[in-house]
Symmetry: C2
Subunit: 352 residues, 2 copies
């Protein structure tokens, strides 16, 4: 059986509709029993030997190899074949091939994947998949609904599922809110602040700061990060001018400081307790069920603050997500505008 390559798709006649579309979810029906196939579908049928060749505009029949080079769909082929091998039927999300709803709000979907046992004629979607090479940049704003399938430079596949959680994580904002006292004596140092005589609760229940005398100390002065200090100064908890602290923060890290402060404040407002994520290479780790320092759970999320127009290199995403997975935390990006709101984006490894 042969197909004809014209206008960007491959048309197949004969009993193609029954054999390929109805029985196995390839292509989309045309009039009669004819179907049209996206190049990646035709490549897969060529690869399997279900199509013998595809006739190009020069009248010559192309085999799998020639067709793959001519259409350069190697990247899509790797993903398409992998999902087929895992037992899924899937459709290329070409204009008019799938419902706009199924393709999702973002126009960045490459494949609509149906639940196992379902196909294009059913009305269910398991995943919307976007295919990316290792070197492409991915706009953070385009993620949140799609599964990102990254093909690395050697052709290995990694799937990332993306979501749009809220600021709270699992935090119960009503649970254990701690209100710091007012006007605590504090000094601003080069890139941190020190509270000289903090009430015990500031650290033990609010989990602000770190003992200047070392992590095993149970009392004494507290070092605060500039983010913590700015947040507490804004609430009147420190005898420090908030603008002075913010100014110092900007000196140290530019407008990133404003972003980080916004994300920090949003996490606190949602009942979560953010602490430095330095040991994990992130901005914050969060404790979402925090009551006191003595009864601390494992931190549950790693937060990285980025600008709303941030673009990811897949490799950086892979690094963050792999690390978070290894320490059983959820990787969350805070897409934070200096003046506007925050969009939260979670990314995790997925095995379809």
């Amino acid at each position: 059986m042969q197909g004809t390559f014209e206008g960007g798709t491959v048309r197949v006649g004969g009993d193609a509709r029954q054999r390929f579309y109805d029985a196995r979810g390839y292509g989309r029906p045309l009039e009669g029993n004819r179907i049209e196939l996206a190049p990646v579908e035709a490549a897969h049928l060529l690869f399997r030997g279900d199509l013998d060749g595809v006739v190009g505009s020069d009248g010559e029949a192309m085999d799998f190899r020639t067709f793959l080079v001519a259409t350069d769909v190697a990247l899509e082929f790797v993903v398409y074949k992998d999902l087929r091998d895992r037992g899924f039927y899937l459709s290329p999300a070409r204009d008019g091939w799938v419902d706009a709803d199924d393709a999702g709000a973002a126009s960045d979907t490459d494949f609509v994947v149906y639940p196992r046992g379902k196909g294009p004629a059913d009305d269910e979607v398991a995943y919307r998949v976007r295919v990316a090479g290792e070197r492409e940049t991915i706009a953070a704003a385009a993620l949140g609904e799609v599964v990102l399938a990254v093909v690395d430079e050697e052709g290995e596949l990694t799937y990332f599922e993306t979501g749009r959680p809220d600021a709270a994580g699992d935090a119960d904002a009503e649970g254990s809110r701690y209100d710091p006292p007012v006007g605590l004596d504090a000094a601003l140092l080069a890139d941190r602040a020190v509270v000289w005589d903090p009430p015990a609760d500031l650290h033990d229940r609010g989990f602000y700061g770190q003992r200047l005398h070392g992590r095993n100390a149970e009392s004494g002065p507290l070092q605060l990060s500039l983010v913590e200090a700015a947040y507490l100064a804004r609430r009147g908890a420190l005898a420090l001018d908030e603008p002075r602290v913010v100014e110092r923060g900007r000196d140290v890290e530019g407008e990133r400081f404003d972003r980080r402060l916004r994300a920090y404040a949003a996490l606190r407002a949602a009942g979560s307790v953010p602490k430095s994520g330095f040991k994990f290479g992130a901005d914050f780790r969060t404790y979402d069920t925090f009551t006191t320092v003595d009864e601390m759970d494992h931190s549950t999320r790693l937060i990285r603050v980025v600008a709303p127009d941030h673009t990811f290199l897949p490799r950086d995403l892979s690094l963050d997500v792999r690390l978070a997975g290894g320490v059983r935390k959820r990787m969350v990006f805070a897409l934070t505008d200096v003046n506007e709101g925050i969009d939260w984006l979670s990314v995790a490894r997925l095995t379809p």
Copy 2:
């Protein structure tokens, strides 16, 4: 007992030499029994109550708190105190305070740390420590001998030991060298190459490429990364022009491609087998005792290729090193000039 702050150091008389220098390794001796202390040492003695105050130029005695703010040595204090608490004596690496040899070739040493039980009068060094805040940038070229002590924004400490290994890792260059055949039929695709009928050994003994038919396939075409393809083309193994492959690589990732190719070739030349490090967010993972695909050990190193003038943000370093540690691999940076040699830099977590 009081000290006097002048010219950047604190001078102490009385029996200071016996009490502080001889017995506990603080400061350096002056004439008679007097010593001088670096500000961080004086801060530590004030903190402990061993000094009652330090008299400044205005004739007023400063306590710990006032002295810390006046000298802004909070960062150094956190590290100094931690190492003391761990049982080490250490000296500030000020000009003329320690032997130039002890301070190391780099002038970036802040503290010379003596082995436990030893002190400044002995001639042994355990660590040369450089102190850095989380926001400072660290030149890669300045690492390799020092231990980097990073104080994060909340005052938590992380130690990184750095070294200068060679390209070989544990690889035995004589062991299992595989010489690929010549002139294999291959096609250049957008960001990869495909070898259509590879001999089995190309993958199984050379560990080049990845099956186009998926990772469980045992035969069929091999996808090669552009780096693998350029390396093999240079050796005549592929019927592809090396310059064409390199050109394609540069199109995809600029001069980083040249750097990565140099590092790849150096690793192969040293008997190591580099494969994509994408899943770990690195350039390569390396198999250093590779014989065949069927008898593969765990990969032992993660390699990130950077320019020789690269500067690290401590947080990025923390991310790489934490991930590598979590998967029991060694993090190695290849400081690679496009035209010159490669300096290898290993970085690992250290508990002093």
